[in-house]
């Protein structure tokens, strides 16, 4: 248990630090790199929760494929580190308002988290059947069975989303020649 706790705090520090790095680095490539670190630490979180499959997917898809795509685009556009893209002058009052609202939200969430309780006996509900399935068949198999049986319909509708995305890429990305 102690090991788990130490792992949690180390990972939490890395995750929060890298998330802040994504926002505060001036160089876009550094932002991308700290986003990779953030996603990797999330993968380790999933590992500590014994969600092996989700952790693998997290590394493969997010830290892998998606981030490579991001890096490609960022390096292709080649921003120089002294490009000031923040435009802070015009948005100064928004900074104040944003920080104020953020503090209020954080205080409210902390208040709720420390005075209320997390729902403890959730296991009585639908999550129980999932836990049972995972225990008997293992992570990946349970995920696959749920995806292709009970959740097959939303999964199929995701295909419609892909059609729409392709249409959008064609409609907005293709050069129209005469009209440009």
């Amino acid at each position: 248990m102690l090991f788990q706790q130490i792992a949690f705090y180390v990972l939490a520090a890395v995750a929060i630090g890298s998330a802040l790095g994504v926002i505060f680095f001036r160089n876009a490539v550094y932002c991308m790199l700290s986003l990779i670190l953030n996603l990797l630490s999330l993968a380790f979180f999933f590992l500590t929760l014994e969600a092996l499959f989700v952790a693998t997917i997290q590394v493969l898809i997010y830290a892998g494929a998606v981030m490579v795509l991001f890096l490609f685009v960022v390096t292709m556009l080649a921003p120089s580190s002294n490009d000031d893209v923040t435009g802070r002058d015009r948005l100064r009052w928004q900074w104040g308002a944003g920080i104020g609202m953020g503090v209020i939200l954080a205080v409210a969430l902390c208040y709720a988290a420390f005075t209320g309780r997390l729902a403890a006996d959730v296991k009585a509900s639908g999550a129980a059947s999932l836990a049972k399935q995972v225990a008997s068949a293992g992570n990946t198999q349970a995920f696959g069975l749920a995806l292709f049986h009970g959740y097959s319909f939303p999964f199929e509708v995701t295909g419609v989303l892909l059609v729409i995305a392709v249409l959008g890429a064609v409609a907005l990305g293709r050069r129209s020649g005469a009209k440009e």
Binding site: A119, K123, S125, A127, A128, S152, F153, L167
Partner: protein, 564 residues
């Protein structure tokens, strides 16, 4: 339940229950294929294919309504209950009218991706129908994404008009952010209840199910879930304070798309919101009702107040749609079965009126997207009496004058609010409706009781008003307008306004229409499709006001879901 998510197999009956959605999807694919074989210049046929698909889907809805078994399908993912079919009807009506408008709009504007345009219209409608019929958080989200993605692209589909690109980009960035917040809320709701199915969530909060939790409270996770879900939905229905995107997107998007999206998104989002909050989280209503109470008041007040100062009618309608979202939120905050049927009636009447109102804007809009300010409406009754009369009827209805659809919708919502012990909301709603009358009637006044201004009338006055309209876009240019107005040729009969369309603004906004603008100071005559669509909208606006019986019955049947 006999089947677990790990062994469930879909059956033929499952597919039958999503018949309208299947037809719309099939029609969308058909249009995309047909686009390859139909030569340029005859793309109007694609609209015909789309319309046939919509009509077939309407027949499918009618079949399911008469069938009336109201079952869920695909492991409780989607339902064909009356609520779903009712919203399908409204969405199909809206997309049908939008499609009727489209050929006329495409002909005059810089839409070059015609096949994709029609396909995406249908796919957006499909997303809305899925979202409104979904009984599982997963499908609500996938449907929402389908409709949002399609609409981002449709907003930006005029590749050479700057405002259209701006609208698409703004909508994309802000709306994706809101989608992420909504998804976060769904994840937390799953975390606190252990299920993504709405009936499962409802059962989790059923009295006696978890006695320990019920007495000690469900903890912060659930509160955070409800907060995030509320923010996400409020953004999608453009409630204040999440409304900032609405005017720019509604004005920048192609008008035929605006007419469809302004109602379709509202129907889908409000129905999904009702399913999540009124139905699944109904037992927790003491926590979310006050939030919607505040949001409803803010939206009614803010939407109407901001609409009052608008000088562009298209923008005015965008703010009026925010105000109308406020009236609908009154029904959510009231949270009774009666109020829910009121919400559905309001949605139906709002759909009919709003597609009509944007249709008029489309009919008067010039090729460069200008020509919709109050000054352009001046004296419209003399120039185009038919269009002016249609606009007057629709505006009277939007204002809520008694024998019209708008009155029926407001009556049911406010009456339910009073019965449901929310007299405060009803009073604010009625007062703000009176405020709304001011700006709706001002347009009517402009059409019937003012003369169109011309050059000799005084360039100074025109310069002043143009400057005011220009402020809205952040680039007032009175000097330019004044100098242009003094030299602009006035064409007898078609001189809508002496304001020059060749102003610097069109050059500024990087459009190519500047090349054709000088020759097009007047809006062209209505196409057949636009005429049919406008007639349909006006007739239904009147009919829903005179004989609201059938739609009220259907809405009450749909709202019975809450009583179960």
């Amino acid at each position: 339940m006999l089947n677990t998510p790990f062994t469930y197999m879909p059956t033929g009956a499952d597919w039958l229950r999503i018949l309208p959605e299947l037809i719309v999807f099939g029609a969308a694919l058909l249009v995309l294929l047909a686009d390859l074989f139909i030569p340029n210049g005859r793309k109007g046929w694609l609209a015909m294919v789309c319309l046939l698909g919509v009509i077939a889907a309407l027949i499918g809805v009618g079949y399911l309504l008469s069938n009336g078994d109201s079952q869920t399908a695909f492991y409780g993912m989607i339902s064909d209950d009356t609520l779903a079919l009712f919203s399908d009807l409204l969405i199909l009506f809206a997309v049908g009218i939008g499609l009727l408008y489209s050929p006329g709009y495409i002909e005059r504007h810089a839409v070059t991706r015609i096949g994709e345009y029609y396909g995406l219209m249908l796919l957006a409608a499909l997303g809305m129908m899925l979202m409104a019929s979904a009984t599982n958080l997963m499908l609500i989200f996938v449907g929402l994404e389908a409709l949002s993605l399609s609409l981002y692209i449709l907003c930006a589909i005029e590749l050479t008009r700057f405002r259209s690109q701006e609208a698409g980009m703004k909508y994309f960035i802000l709306s994706s952010f809101a989608s992420a917040i909504l998804l976060y809320g769904m994840a937390m709701l799953y975390g606190s209840t252990g299920t993504t199915s709405l009936s499962g969530v409802q059962a989790f909060f059923a009295p006696g199910r978890h006695p320990f939790l019920a007495t000690s409270g469900y903890g912060p996770l659930l509160l955070a879930a409800m907060g995030l879900l509320g923010v996400g939905f409020c953004f999608k229905v453009s409630a204040i304070p999440f409304q900032a995107w609405t005017p720019d997107v509604y004005v920048g998007a192609p008008t035929s798309v605006t007419a469809f999206m302004s109602v379709g998104t509202k129907v889908a989002a409000f129905v999904a919101l009702s399913r999540v909050f009124l139905l699944a989280l109904g037992a927790q209503s003491d926590k979310w009702e006050p939030v919607f109470w505040i949001v409803a008041i803010l939206t009614m007040l803010g939407g109407n107040l901001m609409a009052v100062v608008q000088r562009d009618v298209k923008r005015l309608l965008a703010y009026s749609s925010i105000a109308n979202a406020g009236y609908m939120l009154v029904a959510i905050a009231t949270n009774t079965q009666h109020a829910f049927s009121g919400l559905l009636i309001f949605l139906a009447t709002y759909t009919v009126m709003n597609v009509g109102a944007f249709g008029i804007v489309l009919a008067l809009e010039r090729n460069d997207g200008q020509g919709t300010t109050l000054d352009d409406f001046a004296g419209l009754a003399k120039r185009r009496p038919g269009v002016a009369a249609a606009m007057a009827i629709i505006l009277f209805a939007l204002a809520g004058v008694p024998p019209s659809a708008g009155f029926v919708g407001k009556y049911y919502v406010f009456q339910a609010a009073i019965v449901g012990n929310h007299i405060d909301l009803a009073v604010i709603g009625i007062l703000t409706s009176v405020l709304g009358m001011y700006y709706y009637l001002r347009v009517i006044w402009a059409m019937y009781f003012t003369e169109p201004r011309n050059v000799s009338g005084g360039a100074g006055a025109i310069a002043a008003t143009t400057g005011m309209a220009g402020e809205d876009e952040g680039e007032p240019e009175p000097a330019d307008a004044a100098s242009g107005a003094s030299v602009a040729p006035v064409r007898a009969g078609t001189a809508t306004l002496a304001r020059p369309v060749t102003s610097r603004r069109s050059a500024n906004s990087r459009t190519v229409v500047a090349t054709q603008a000088p020759a097009e100071s007047a809006a062209p005559p209505l196409t057949l499709g636009t005429t049919v669509a406008l007639t349909l909208a006006v007739v239904l606006t009147v009919a829903l006001g005179l004989i609201p019986g059938p739609i009220v019955m259907l809405a009450e049947q749909a709202a019975r879901l809450l009583g179960q």
